[in-house]
């Protein structure tokens, strides 16, 4: 049987997704359900003086209206930060309470203060309009740069500072800078983004009054974690009385890692009102209340020699946490960001210093790439600036500073097990026809256009591990993953995974892996995920961890199955277990050439005895059945890497940037399904390009989100993007048996600096801020024309 790992197996998911048969949370309806509408703060910062629900309670169809007072009375806990980060001075980070319904104060537009449950959605909406909330409006802190000099939003959190964190060695870095021929400086703003999953958040809650069990169907990337937080911190119900199901989920990109206010409130309320509850976010609510991404202000400095060797690097960043610290909010700008600050290069000395601050804006948390895009953007922009100031080719300066021996001990934290950065960049250079750029530039110029080329080399650290290290760094949980593999008596296999697919295609990829391990046709393998009542506790999907952590747990569980199978087959074939080989789904005894298929062995494992045709006494000490589970905790992160090159053509009359060519060469180690990986790269690139050219979440001075709809928030569209030219190199990961590395975030990480480097190259090195909108580019073109005229 040919190996399925490496094959372009068409997705098992396609039939239901492409024919509209997916079953999403909002597709679920429960008899007698009520509809929830949340009343949200229209102010960015205010004290709640009074909430008057009397008129609303009399409105048609209203079942109940609950507020922060009720939450407090029932001692329902709030939302939490999942990572405890310490400041440079050793002090603990400062986090405000974040009750699921605000009682005393609201801290961003969209912060929920009350909820209406009614018989119909229209009735809930009508009643919500009658709830009167009396606010004392306070001056909002909406500007990140000024937040540390503004009034404290939360009591006891001076300067709005959560922590002031350091990674690296200031003294060593200073010494390196003292030796530099040249110091390159760069100030950047990493623009704030809104994840915009296609499916808005939703939850449907079903409380069973007899069993007292709450079932929460929700749009989550990690249902077990949601259950844990809702139970341990929310106090909604004990874990055994709480079932969380995340059925088909239409994209998360990090925004659905968090357990949100609405899930806690509706789960708690369903028990209180003894009715099922349905809540589905409207798109405006998604814009206002889904966790946002990025939003850094960074000053960076790179110390170089005249011949382009890097000596040291400093990264001073202010990161916006928004109003509250959420699950990955505090780790995203620290351990997911800081270590990657020095990029793919040998950097003798470096440090990253991050000040994370609170503002009256939506909470900021992980968004595809989480910390690594911000870090990569900074280093890749400053490396390009260094090349320009030193008069070097951008590829030459990168090659000069690449490590060539692996494992490579990266400056700040990571021990990178494998990679070949030179091969990746060479391949990208060839595929992009880098040498032909000057000809294409001339062609563009003959049409009155400007053309630029941009290069980025990146590495990233994903599949966060191992748990002991992760917990030492402040994580509240371990980041292993679980799997269980069950054979039915008649030979089909069900694989339970603790990972969650919200677009990643686990049903296909994981089935390919199991098919190879067990020699069972892929049609006979089903993958189950997303339900805390099915399978073992799992950690979910984020940070490109599903395959490198969850996938390996499946491999290990399959290996256990094969081991037990060997013992059973040995008994059946009258040999000793070490005489049995397993290959292509068959247990074979070489000396007698007798064999049993894994299906026969599975059947035998459930029929442990001898009767008529059945002759399958189990080996002594073995229990019936063929079910194994595994918890995998990798020895290290996985470190995908690559080089991307793109070309843009700019119309100086309008500032329009046309992305003309895009080449991505990535090293994801072993690729299980190229079709799916290419899709991941395409999607990642689109989001990275979105940050570079289009997307920009903006708050005004009063803290109102002025990009709260698709009329103003610019998403990248298909016609903005060229055909992507994809290539792969492969150095296998040494930290897992498949040699796989994460692929989900790479495109997003690399694309933003690649595009901006090309835009700035076209503008003759003139810096512009993210995103490179037409007006900004037009202005830069005008100034460039003026400078050129003056020079002439």
């Amino acid at each position: 049987m040919a190996s399925l790992v490496g094959s372009r197996v068409e997705r098992k998911e396609d039939k239901r997704f492409l024919t509209g048969k997916g079953r999403y949370t909002s597709d679920i309806n429960i008899a007698n359900q009520t509809y929830a509408i949340f009343i949200r703060s229209p102010h960015a910062r205010a004290k709640i003086k009074k909430i008057d629900t009397s008129k609303a309670l009399k409105s048609s169809g209203v079942v109940e209206i609950l507020t922060g007072e009720h939450i407090a009375q029932d001692k329902i806990g709030g939302l939490i930060a999942g990572w405890a980060i310490r400041s440079e001075d050793g002090s603990e980070m400062k986090c405000p309470a974040n009750p699921p319904l605000a009682k005393d104060s609201v801290n961003f537009v969209g912060d929920p203060v009350a909820v209406v449950f009614a018989e119909t959605l229209d009735e809930a909406r009508a009643a919500a309009e009658l709830v009167k909330v009396d606010y004392k409006v306070l001056k909002a802190v909406s500007n990140l740069g000024e937040a540390m000099n503004s009034e404290a939003i939360h009591d006891g959190i001076d300067k709005n500072l959560c922590y002031d964190w350091l990674l690296g060695d200031r003294q060593k870095t200073k010494e390196a800078f003292d030796k530099a021929d040249k110091i390159i400086k760069l100030d950047i703003v990493n623009n704030r983004l809104i994840p915009n999953a296609m499916e808005p958040r939703a939850c449907v809650i079903d409380y069973n009054t007899a069993s007292e069990e709450i079932t929460c169907y929700t749009t989550s990337q990690n249902p077990h974690l949601s259950r844990l937080i809702m139970s341990a911190f929310g106090g909604v119900a004990p874990e055994n009385k709480l079932r969380v199901v995340a059925p088909d989920v239409g994209g998360g990109f990090g925004s659905k890692i968090n357990l949100y206010n609405e899930e806690i409130v509706c789960s708690w309320a369903s028990k209180k009102i003894e009715r099922p509850i349905k809540w589905v976010a409207e798109r405006t609510e998604s814009f206002l209340t889904d966790t946002h991404g990025r939003d850094h202000i960074t000053h960076a400095e790179l110390a170089v020699t005249n011949d382009g060797k890097f000596l040291g690097f400093k990264n001073e960043t202010i990161a916006n946490l928004g109003a509250y610290a959420r699950v990955f909010g505090t780790v995203t700008p620290t351990y997911l960001f800081g270590p990657c600050a020095t990029g793919v290069y040998i950097m003798p000395a470096a440090y990253s210093n991050v000040k994370a601050v609170y503002t009256n804006t939506a909470p900021v948390d992980a968004y595809r790439g989480a910390g690594r895009p911000e870090a990569t953007y900074t280093i890749e922009r400053i490396v390009d600036k260094a090349a320009m100031e030193l008069g070097m080719d951008p590829i030459e300066i990168r090659m000069k500073n690449f490590p060539t021996e692996f494992p490579f001990k990266q400056t700040l934290v990571h021990q990178i097990d494998s990679g070949d950065y030179v091969a990746g960049l060479n391949k990208a250079k060839e595929m992009a026809d880098y040498d032909g750029f000057s000809t294409r530039k001339k062609e563009s110029e003959s049409k009155g256009k400007l053309r630029g080329i941009g290069v980025t080399s990146y590495f990233e650290a994903c599949g966060i591990a191992p748990s002991p290290v992760v917990m030492m760094l402040g994580c509240g949980v371990g980041l292993w993953e679980s799997a269980e593999v069950r054979f039915n008596p008649t030979g089909q296999v069900t694989v339970y995974t603790g990972s969650h697919s919200h677009g990643q295609s686990h049903q296909t990829t994981f089935a390919q892996i199991a098919a190879d391990e067990l020699g069972v046709p892929i049609e006979n393998i089903d993958v189950v995920h997303g339900d805390t009542d099915k399978g073992t506790f799992g950690m979910g999907t984020y940070g490109s961890r599903s395959l490198t952590v969850g996938g390996i747990a499946i491999v290990n569980a399959c290996k256990k199955i094969v081991n037990k199978g060997k013992r059973i087959a040995a008994k059946m074939l009258e040999a000793s277990p070490d005489e049995v080989d397993f290959k292509n789904g068959e247990f074979v005894v070489a000396k007698s050439n007798k064999k049993k298929t894994i299906g026969e062995v599975a059947f035998a494992s459930y029929l442990p005895g001898v009767r008529d045709e059945v002759k399958s006494p189990l080996p002594e000490g073995d229990e019936p059945g063929l079910i194994e589970s595994s918890f995998f905790d990798p020895a290290n992160f996985s470190f995908p890497a690559g080089s991307h090159i793109c070309e843009v053509e700019i119309d100086p009359e309008t500032g329009h940037v046309k992305l003309d060519k895009y080449t991505a060469v990535d090293d994801f180690g072993t690729i299980v399904n190229p079709l799916i990986v290419e899709g991941q790269v395409h999607g990642g690139l689109a989001q990275g390009i979105g940050q570079a050219l289009y997307e920009n979440a903006q708050y005004d001075d009063s803290g109102q989100l002025i990009t709260a709809s698709y009329m103003d928030y610019t998403m990248p569209r298909a016609d903005d993007l060229p055909d992507f030219n994809l290539g792969f190199t492969c150095t296998k990961a040494t930290t897992n048996p498949l040699g796989v590395k994460g692929c989900g975030e790479a495109g997003t990480i690399a694309a933003t600096p690649t595009v901006m480097n090309a835009v700035i190259n076209a503008l003759g090195g003139k810096e512009i801020s993210l995103p490179a909108t037409a007006e900004k580019v037009w202005k830069a073109c005008k100034e460039m024309k003026k400078t050129n005229a003056e020079a002439a």
Binding site: T654, H656, Q698, Y710, Y713, T773, A774, E775, W778, K779
Partner: protein, 261 residues
């Protein structure tokens, strides 16, 4: 959405009779329905005029193209007659919104709504359109009054829009990257009787840029536009484009339009 009375009018007379200051005519519903769903508008009566056969269709005579009010953008975009007579008008229709909008949205709805960033009003200005209602015929220059404002009375139904076929014409727009409405759109049309430059998106209401038209009358080439000064005063300004940028883009897109004529 607030509740309302739905009527399907069988003819223009009935539609007009049902109308009041608290009603809206429904054609494609591309603005009316979202406004109602978002709670930005509410009406006592919604009068559906889609079933009135007389209001739809395209007729081309020697000098004019006449389009029924409820004719969809996709029908104008794909009409062989329009493509032959005024190709720039078919191209404009092809560039409105997205396929879903083009398959429902209507020309009458677009001009009656008079969104300052809509495409069709610039065509009406550039192509000397006459808007025929159940009561009267109105010149385009008099029809568009201000932001979302026309000279239509609440009981007045647009029946057809009659465009003059120009010698040459082109519509060029800079789409808003998020909404794809026009940040600015410039419709240049050269008629035997004179030149019009319909500009949309730039100000609170579509207008005929007399300075650009004047310069082009003297010399119909994009270089003639270089010397025209366009003030940013009165231009729209938002997060996507400042008034200064808009003023400059009116010029840049006028040049593109002339070059494309």
């Amino acid at each position: 959405m607030k509740t309302f009375n739905y009527h399907s009018a069988k003819d223009v007379k009935e539609a007009s009779k049902l109308a009041s200051s608290n009603s809206a005519f429904l054609a494609g519903g591309m603005t009316t329905i979202p406004s109602m769903k978002l709670g930005l508008a509410s009406y006592k009566d919604i009068i559906d005029i889609k079933r009135i056969k007389k209001l739809t269709g395209i007729k081309v005579s020697g000098k004019t193209v006449t389009i029924g009010a409820t004719t969809k953008h996709s029908e104008v975009a794909s009409s062989k007659d329009v493509k032959k007579a005024i190709p720039s008008l078919a191209a404009l229709a092809e560039g409105i919104g997205d396929p879903q909008v083009r398959n429902r949205g209507t020309i009458g709805g677009s001009i009656a709504n008079n969104d300052p960033a809509a495409d069709y009003p610039s065509a009406c200005i550039a192509l000397n359109a006459t808007i025929h209602t159940n009561n009267r015929s109105i010149d385009a220059e008099k029809f568009f009054r201000g932001m979302f404002e026309t000279c239509l009375k609440s009981t007045e139904v647009i029946e057809t829009i009659e465009f003059s076929i120009p010698e040459k014409s082109s519509y060029q727009k800079l789409p808003n990257p998020a909404s794809r409405y026009a940040i600015i759109g410039v419709y240049v049309a050269k008629h035997k009787t004179g030149i019009n430059v319909g500009v949309t998106g730039a100000k609170s209401c579509v207008y005929n840029d007399k300075d650009l038209a004047g310069a082009l009358t003297k010399n119909f080439s994009s270089s003639a536009i270089d010397s025209v000064k366009i003030s940013s005063s009165g231009m729209n300004s938002d997060i996507h484009a400042s008034s200064d940028y808009r003023a400059n883009m009116v010029k840049a897109f006028a040049k593109k339009a002339v070059d494309a004529c």
